[in-house]
Structures are given as structure tokens and as C-alpha cells.
Amino acid sequence: NSQRPRPRVLLKAPTLAEMEEMNTSEEEESP
């Protein structure tokens, strides 16, 4: 069915806690 929009691709996201962790480790790495 050419009328049908193609399905959207699910973008995986880290959880809020994981984001926090990544952010903290980045801050620690930078002097």
C-alpha cells in the first residue's frame, strides 16, 4: 500500500539516571 506512511524508527534513549551518570562522568573527565 503506497499510501501508507512508512513506520518510524524507534530512537533508543538512555534513562534519566543513565543520562545523569554519563553527564557526571563527562564532567569528571574534563578538568
Partner: protein, 394 residues
């Protein structure tokens, strides 16, 4: 004759493009360094709409890394701003409004039919084409809960020091101090240094201020209702807990003043159209305690009346108030042990909780119902003072 060729402006499709290297500047100018006061008079939740228009363009060009990066930087930026302003009601309310609005946009324009029922045809054109951001919606929902909790903590911190003096100690009814229990007169605020007494008007003024800020910033009405239900719960808990521990306020006159104060709070809720918040229901134990102080406490019929009235107070709380009750003067008798035994006997079948005091830190779970916007993206104007000239309208 000079021929003027009028060039038709290319239609703005409600998308914003920027170079990847400008992302940090975008987050700085739109999130971390933004002062909510700057946006007075503009569309409420403007940052959320701008961010959505940027996300939409990244989706349009099928750039998943740009979407990931922008959403991650936005969320981290909001968290940073909240951490820095963790005692600022206005800033916290502003980011709660915007985070919820961005969440609503990601639903409204997700392409999921369940969220599109109220969209116009034009709005449907503004849906995401390539990516499903369900997982990011969950992150924004979790972030909204965190911001809501911070907002409540700030508001409670402001109100808490006012509650006891405003609700139990301050006498706004004229002539009531003459019927206070002897030996306890003018005790109010004597336990604290300096003049830390507040009248109910101070609480109402503060709640007016909270309410105005949240409304002006376009916070969802359903969230505003939940904020006031939570704050009224705390007013109930702190006031009742003090009443249950202080003999000097367990009197007929305090009951009268308390009932008057509660009626003022109810009136305030009506005036601000917040009746459906459930806030009044959270005051029920306090309303009953005020009535208990005022009821007669002598005959078996009085005991019957108390038991049928005080359904939101536990047996332990009723008995405690009766034990603490202090007669107004020598003509009023103390509550007899026999009367209290009658009450206990009548209430023994109740399955009441064992603890005497209420948990003043209890929080009701918050809900963020979907609230689609009537605005169309291509109608949104970006003011020059936001310094976002590097965003290109597409």
C-alpha cells in the same frame, strides 16, 4: 513604467534548522541562561515550541544523531538549571511548564493517531516523519516528575513556617482572646525568637503568588490543581499534628478560629476556581477536629454525635483531642474519663491506623494528562532578544 517583481516569501513550515556546532549556543541561550521574566508577554512555553521545531527539522532531514544530541543536551540543560535554582519557585515552575509542553508536543506530533484526535489538518502536517521518540517521552515524563517534586518542595518550604501561627495561633475573630483558656493567653509565637507570627492572609497572599506564576507560565491546569491539593494536604497535616500535641490550642475558641480559617481557605479555592482539585477534601480531618473542639462533650448523645461526625479522624486522634481539651473558663467542665471511655467503646470496631500523627511529607502521585496545543508551529515568532538568529526557519 517600473515593473516591480514581488517575490513570494517561502512558506514557513514550522521547522528550525541550525548547524551542529551551534547546539551548545542554542541550549545556553534557550535553556541554561534564559530568564523566565524575559518571556513575559510571549507565547507561554515558547522554549518548548522552539525545541520541538528544531527536533522536527532534524527528523525531517532524517538525522538521528542530531535528534539524540539535541534531546540529550536539552534534558541535561534543564537539569542543570533546576539544580542551580533549586529554591526558585518561578524558575522551577517555568521548566515544569516547558518540559510538560515539550512532552505534549512529542505526543501531539508523534503520528500516533491516539494523540492526533484534536489536531487540525495543518497540525497533522507538522508530525514527525522518520523517528519514534517514545523512549525520549518516557525520559521527559520522568524529568517532569522530578521537577514537580522540586516545585512542591520549594512551595512547602515557603508555606510551612507560616502554618502553625496562621492556622492555630493568630486571632482574627474579634473578642475571641477573651475566651481563651486561662493561663495560655498570648502564648502565640513565644517559642520562637523574634516576630515569626503570620496571619492567614500571609498564606493566602503566598498562594496567590504561586497560582499567578503557574498560570502566567502556561502550566497545565491539571498540574496546578495537583499542586494545590498537595499544599492543602500539608496545611492539614502540619496544623492537625500541632493540635494533637498542644494543650493550649485544644480549646473551644481555637476550634472556632480554625473553622473560620478553613472557610477562608475554601473561599480562596472557589475564587481561584480550584474547587475540583480535591484540596478541600484533604482538609477534612482538620475540619472535623475544629468541630470536635466546638461540640458538647458530656452526654451519651454528645458521644454519639462525635462518633458519627469524626469519620476522618482516628479513634486515637479523637481521644487525644478530648484528653487535651482545655475548658474556656471555670463554668465549662473538663471532658470526663467516663465520656472518653464511652467514645472508645463506640469506636472500637473501627479499623483505624495506629499512628497518631499524619505524615506531613506524604506526596500524592502526580499525573500529567495529555494536553494538546491549539497553536500551529508556523505561527510562532521567535523574539530577537532570545539571540537565536542562527536558527533558520524552514
Amino acid at each position: 513604467r517600473q515593473v516591480t517583481v514581488q517575490r513570494k516569501e517561502k512558506d514557513f513550515q514550522g521547522m528550525l534548522d541550525y548547524h551542529r556546532e551551534d547546539e551548545a549556543l542554542l541550549i545556553r541561550n534557550l535553556v541554561t541562561d534564559l530568564k523566565p521574566q524575559m518571556l513575559t508577554g510571549s507565547v507561554p512555553c515558547l522554549p518548548a515550541y522552539i525545541l520541538y521545531m528544531c527536533i522536527r527539522h532534524a527528523d525531517y532531514i532524517n538525522d538521528d544523531l542530531k535528534v539524540h544530541s539535541l534531546l540529550t543536551s536539552t534534558i541535561n540543560g534543564i537539569k542543570k538549571v533546576l539544580k542551580k535554582h533549586n529554591e526558585d519557585f518561578e524558575m522551577t515552575s517555568f521548566w515544569l511548564s516547558n518540559t510538560c509542553r515539550l512532552l505534549h508536543c512529542l505526543k501531539q506530533y508523534s503520528g500516533d493517531e491516539g494523540f492526533m484526535t484534536q489536531n487540525t489538518a495543518k497540525q497533522n502536517e507538522h508530525c514527525l516523519k522518520n523517528f519514534d521518540l517514545t523512549e525520549y517521552r518516557q525520559v521527559l515524563s520522568d524529568l517532569s516528575i522530578q521537577i514537580y517534586q522540586q516545585l512542591i518542595k520549594i512551595a512547602e518550604g515557603v508555606l510551612q513556617p507560616m502554618i502553625v501561627s496562621a492556622m492555630l495561633e493568630n486571632e482574627s475573630i474579634q473578642g475571641l482572646s477573651g475566651v481563651k483558656p486561662t493561663g495560655y493567653r498570648k502564648r502565640s509565637s513565644s517559642m520562637v525568637d523574634g516576630d515569626n507570627s503570620y496571619c492567614l492572609e500571609a498564606i493566602i497572599r503566598q498562594m496567590n503568588s504561586f497560582h499567578t506564576v503557574m498560570c502566567d507560565q502556561g502550566l497545565d491546569p491539571e498540574i496546578i490543581l495537583q499542586v494545590f491539593k498537595q499544599l492543602f494536604y500539608m496545611i492539614n497535616a502540619v496544623t492537625l499534628n500541632n493540635l494533637l500535641l498542644r494543650k493550649d490550642v485544644c480549646s473551644w475558641s481555637t476550634g472556632m478560629q480554625l473553622r473560620y480559617n478553613i472557610s477562608q481557605l475554601e473561599e480562596w479555592l472557589r475564587g481561584r476556581n480550584l474547587q475540583q482539585s480535591g484540596a478541600v477534601q484533604t482538609l477534612e480531618p482538620l475540619i472535623q477536629a475544629a468541630q470536635l473542639l466546638q461540640l458538647k462533650k458530656k452526654t451519651p448523645e454528645d458521644a454519639e454525635a462525635i462518633c458519627s461526625l469524626c469519620t476522618s479522624l482516628s479513634t486515637q486522634q479523637i481521644v487525644k483531642i478530648l484528653n487535651l481539651y482545655t475548658p474556656v473558663n471555670e463554668f465549662e467542665e473538663r471532658v470526663t474519663v467516663a465520656f472518653i471511655r464511652t467514645i472508645q467503646a463506640q469506636l472500637q470496631e473501627r479499623n483505624d491506623p495506629q499512628q497518631l500523627l499524619l505524615d506531613s511529607k506524604h506526596m500524592f502521585p502526580v499525573l500529567f494528562p495529555f494536553n494538546p496545543s491549539l497553536l500551529t508551529m508556523d505561527s510562532i515568532h521567535i523574539p530577537a532578544y532570545l539571540n537565536l538568529e542562527f536558527l533558520n526557519e524552514v
